[in-house]
């Protein structure tokens, strides 16, 4: 290895280490300042809570055997929401691609549904389906569905015209064009829609739990704020941060895996 290369690699490494240091520094600094401010009475821990009380709250939840239950129920609602939303969205987009006339007719309705804040439909679903995870899953699904349809349909329509022409020169019909070219070439678009849905599904499940629920992280947040237990609220938000990030990375890994197996990265 040449001297110049060594210096170059060293420089890159130092920059990376420095970035890692500051990342951790900010995290620790934030919680340290929060804790100190609460202890010295600069802020009132009754309304801001404080890190040590958050940890105690989480430990208590764990001891009461309800920590995992709350996490799992919310994670379940979110996962079902974005997975079903993406599958259903892709199916509907496929139908719309196969029947362009249908697409033309439904366009204004799509625009209306897209503009509508889907959360507004929440109470309706609760009345129809009843309170419980099913209603929350439907709310969650609705939030990501329309965006998913539009993204995937956009991808389908933008499929390379010459690739489609190739199938036509073989005498392929519409269904074959779809299964041999349109669907496989749009796999990255579909996985990307899945990725976008993850973030939106968290909104659906948490707000759904705000509306009506007996368990879940959204329930803990709303319950905590109503009884003025800010420790509980902050603890739930912190847990939410962690599992939402974990879920996002899991989907990111899934995306990499799928695209790599299909040689589309």
């Amino acid at each position: 290895m040449s001297e110049e290369r060594k210096i170059y690699l060293k420089k890159i490494k130092r920059e990376k280490n420095l970035a890692t240091f500051f990342k951790i520094f900010i995290l620790i600094g934030f919680f340290a300042i929060w804790e100190v401010a609460a202890i010295t009475g600069i802020i009132d821990p009754f309304i801001t809570s404080q890190p040590s009380r958050i940890v105690t709250t989480i430990i208590n939840l764990y001891k009461q055997n309800s920590l995992w239950q709350h996490i799992l129920i919310t994670a379940y609602e979110t996962c079902m929401g974005f997975i079903l939303g993406t599958i259903l969205g892709t199916l509907i987009a496929s139908l719309l691609w196969c029947f362009p006339f249908l697409c033309k007719v439904l366009e204004p309705y799509m625009v209306v549904l897209n503009s509508l804040p889907k959360i507004a439909l929440g109470p309706i679903f609760i009345v129809w389906i009843g309170s419980g995870p099913s209603a929350i899953i439907v709310i969650t699904l609705t939030i990501s569905l329309i965006v998913c349809i539009m993204d995937v349909l956009g991808g389908f329509i933008a499929t390379d015209k010459d690739q489609i022409k190739l199938i036509q020169t073989f005498g392929g019909n519409k269904l074959q064009t779809f299964t041999k070219v349109v669907l496989p070439s749009n796999l990255p678009v579909i996985v990307n829609a899945l990725k976008i849905s993850v973030g939106m599904s968290w909104v659906g499940s948490i707000v759904g739990e705000f509306l009506v629920s007996k368990e879940g992280l959204g329930y803990l947040i709303v319950y905590g704020s109503q009884v003025f237990k800010l420790d509980l609220v902050m603890a739930s938000v912190l847990i939410l941060c962690i599992i939402a990030t974990v879920m996002y990375y899991a989907v990111l890994q899934f995306e990499k895996l799928v695209l790599k197996s299909r040689r589309m990265n």
Binding site: D162, I167, S185, M264
Partner: protein, 250 residues
């Protein structure tokens, strides 16, 4: 020589929302079995449309396309090689058989033979990103030959390649086509490519495309590769004549 394809008084008018567009007007010519026909013309003159008509992808507004008895199918090769990144070479070359539901033992054996003859058999499980431009073009040709078409339609088949690769690939594809004894209709904007490959060149006018002139390309009795033809004195004579006919103004 027996006639394999006859085009009679062909015309096509495109209908769009804003206007009608006459793409092709009164085109008539015929193709003999085993011939290599090159069609040149200024860009946007409707060359590709002509191939789409012959392939049956669009219906003519006027005139007839008659395939002789026994000749039943055409094979189309497009500008870019259009391998699918998610399909291996093998999955790709049998794509056509898959769509036509013609994966018979006989056809599969034929594809295997083609792959073996043209040095792609050991790459059958490779993905397109692992192959060179020339190999990809070969795979595309084998895919086209897989259903044993009577007429090959090449639509700017080499245009996506850089100049040097293009000369080599044209040579390669030419020898395969001659070896398999196929009739070819090639559309290109490249006059020198046309003169070096074709037995006969048809020059089209600007839109609406009509046949402006026709040249029989004759390099004597010697068997020459397209690359060798480019060195011949006849080559530049043909080139200049066709260049004059195309009449490009900038």
């Amino acid at each position: 020589m027996n006639k394999i394809l006859e085009i009679k008084d062909l015309g096509l008018i495109y209908q769009t929302k804003d206007k009608e567009l006459e793409a092709i007007k009164n085109i008539s010519f015929s193709v003999n079995s085993g011939e290599f026909i090159g069609i040149v013309g200024p860009s946007g003159c409707g060359k590709s449309t002509l191939l789409s008509l012959i392939a049956g992808l669009i219906k003519p507004s006027k005139g007839e396309i008659i395939l002789s008895e026994g000749a039943h199918s055409t094979g189309y090769m497009l500008q870019k090689d259009y391998l699918f990144p998610w399909r291996t070479i093998w999955e790709y070359v049998i794509l056509c058989l898959e769509i036509k539901k013609a994966k018979t033992k006989e056809n599969i054996e034929k594809v295997v033979r083609l792959l073996k003859t043209y040095g792609l058999y050991e790459f059958r499980n490779a993905y397109p990103d692992e192959l060179s431009g020339g190999m990809r073009q070969r795979s595309a040709l084998i895919r086209t030959l897989a259903t044993d078409p009577d007429i090959l339609l090449l639509d700017e088949a080499f245009s996506a390649l850089d100049y040097q690769t293009r000369l080599a690939v044209a040579d390669d594809i030419y020898s395969i086509i001659k070896n398999e004894n196929k009739t070819v209709l090639m559309v290109t904007h490249d006059i020198s490519e046309c003169v070096s490959l074709a037995d006969r060149v048809i020059v089209l006018s600007t839109r609406p495309a009509v046949i402006k002139s026709e040249y029989k390309i004759d390099f004597g009795n010697e068997v020459l590769t397209p690359l060798q033809k480019r060195d011949r004195p006849e080559f530049s004579q043909y080139f200049n004549k066709i260049w004059g006919d195309i009449d490009i103004h900038v």
